[in-house]
Symmetry: C2
Subunit: 235 residues, 2 copies
C-alpha cells in the first residue's frame, strides 16, 4: 500500500456528537429552566439527519448545507419536545452546537501523529465552515477541510469520494477513508479507496445495541486513532 492521504468521516468517528449535544442541551435547559430528556433530544436530532440528507440526494430539496438541515430538524424538535420561549439568538446558537462537538479522547493526539506522515483531511457531510469551526474548537490539526459541500453531493454518493480524491491530486488507491461506519467504508472501497475501520462503541450511547463485527476486507481495523497511527507506522 502506498497511502498519501487519509480522509476522515467526522461525526461519530472523530467527535462524540451525542455527549456534546446532551451537554449543550443541559446547559441551555438549566439557563432557561427546561426539563427535557436531552439524550432523547440528541438522538432525535441525529435521527433526522439521514432522512433530511436523503431529501437532497433524491432531488426533493436543492443543495442545502448541513447547518440548514440541522436547523430544519431542530425547529421540528422544539415543537415536538414542547420547548418555547427561546430567543432567535438562543436557537441559532443551539443549532451551532454541531460546530462545538468534542473530539474522542484519542482523536487530536492520534491525528497529530498521523499528520507527521500523511496528509490528513476531513471527508464529512458537514459543511466546510462547520468543520473548520469544529477543528478550532477541538484542536483538530487537519491539513485540509474536505466536505460533501465541495461536491454538491452527500455521502454515500460516489461523487463525494471522487471529488475529494481529485482535490487531493491522488489516485483512489493512494487515499484511505477512515470511519466508524461500515457503509461509508464500503462506498469508499467502491471507488477504489483504501479503508480503515475504527471502533467507536459509545457513539450512540452506553445502552445502544452493538454494531456488527467489522468486515474483514477493510485494509485496517483499529481500536482508536493511536492504534491506527501504530498500524500505519507513525511515531
Amino acid at each position: 500500500m502506498t497511502i498519501k492521504a487519509l480522509t476522515f468521516d467526522v461525526f461519530g468517528t472523530v467527535v462524540d456528537w451525542r455527549s456534546s449535544v446532551i451537554r449543550d442541551g443541559e446547559r441551555l435547559g438549566e439557563r432557561v429552566g427546561l426539563d427535557i430528556d436531552w439524550a432523547a433530544f440528541a438522538d432525535a436530532w441525529r435521527g433526522g439527519y439521514g432522512p433530511s440528507m436523503n431529501r437532497v440526494r433524491t432531488g426533493e430539496l436543492p443543495w442545502t448545507k448541513i447547518d440548514d438541515l440541522h436547523r430544519m430538524i431542530l425547529d421540528e424538535l422544539l415543537k415536538k419536545f414542547g420547548i418555547s420561549g427561546l430567543s432567535k439568538e438562543e436557537i441559532a446558537d443551539f443549532n451551532r452546537v454541531w460546530h462545538r462537538l468534542a473530539p474522542w479522547p484519542d482523536a487530536a493526539g492520534g491525528l497529530w501523529r498521523l499528520k507527521s506522515r500523511y496528509l490528513i483531511a476531513t471527508l464529512s457531510n458537514g459543511n466546510v465552515s462547520l468543520l473548520a469551526n469544529m477543528a478550532k474548537y477541538g484542536g483538530l490539526p487537519w491539513d485540509c477541510i474536505l466536505s460533501a459541500e465541495l461536491a454538491g453531493h452527500y455521502k454515500p454518493d460516489a461523487e463525494t469520494y471522487l471529488k475529494a480524491i481529485e482535490l487531493l491530486s491522488c489516485e483512489p488507491r493512494e487515499v484511505m477513508m477512515v470511519a466508524a461506519h461500515q457503509g461509508d467504508l464500503h462506498h469508499a472501497a467502491g471507488v477504489g479507496m483504501k479503508t480503515a475501520y475504527v471502533f467507536r462503541p459509545f457513539e450512540r450511547g452506553p445502552n445502544a445495541k452493538k454494531d456488527l463485527p467489522p468486515d474483514l476486507d477493510f485494509d485496517i481495523i483499529a481500536h482508536d486513532f493511536h492504534d491506527l497511527a501504530d498500524q500505519l507506522g507513525c511515531h
Copy 2:
C-alpha cells in the same frame, strides 16, 4: 467592522516564491551540472502564470490545475534555457517546487496570532493539494484551504471570491482579503469584502521596480503579518 474570517492570497503574500524557486533550481543545477541563471528562470516561470491562467479564464483551455499549468510552462522553459537530460522524476519533482515555497519570515508567526481570533484561510489560485502540501512544508496553520479550484474560476473572477464567502457561511463584509497585490484587493472589494494590503517589497527580487503606493481606500495597510495582527487586535 465585524470580521469573522481572513482569506489570504498566497504566492507573494504568504510565501517568497522567487527565492524558493531559485534555491531549488540551484540545487538541481549543482546536482546534474547545469549553469543557468536561476533568477531569470524563476521570473520566466512566474511570468508564464498569468497568461496561462488567462487561457483558462477565456475558455481556450478547460479547467486546469495550477500544477498542470506550471508544468506546461516548465516544459517550454526547459527547451528555452537549453536544459536536457533530466529524468521524468526530476522534472516532476522540480515542478513541485511550488509546493515547497518558503514563507516570509513573519508569515507563520503572524498567522498563529491571527488564528487565535479569526478563521484564517487561503484564497489562492494554487490548487488545493499544492496549498495543503505547502502548509505542511512551511508550518502554515490554516483553518481551511480555499482555492480557485473550488470555484472552477481563477482570481480575479468574482466567482472565486464569492465561492469562498459561501463556503465560509459569511456575508462578504465579514471576510477580509489579505494580499500584497492591489488588483486582487480591488476585485475582492468589488464583491463587498474588506481588504488588507501587506507590503512585500522583495517579492520580485532586490532590483525589481517598486510597486505603486497602496490605495488608501483599503481597510488596512500593514507592513507584515505581525503588524496586521496588531491592527486587528490580536495578542
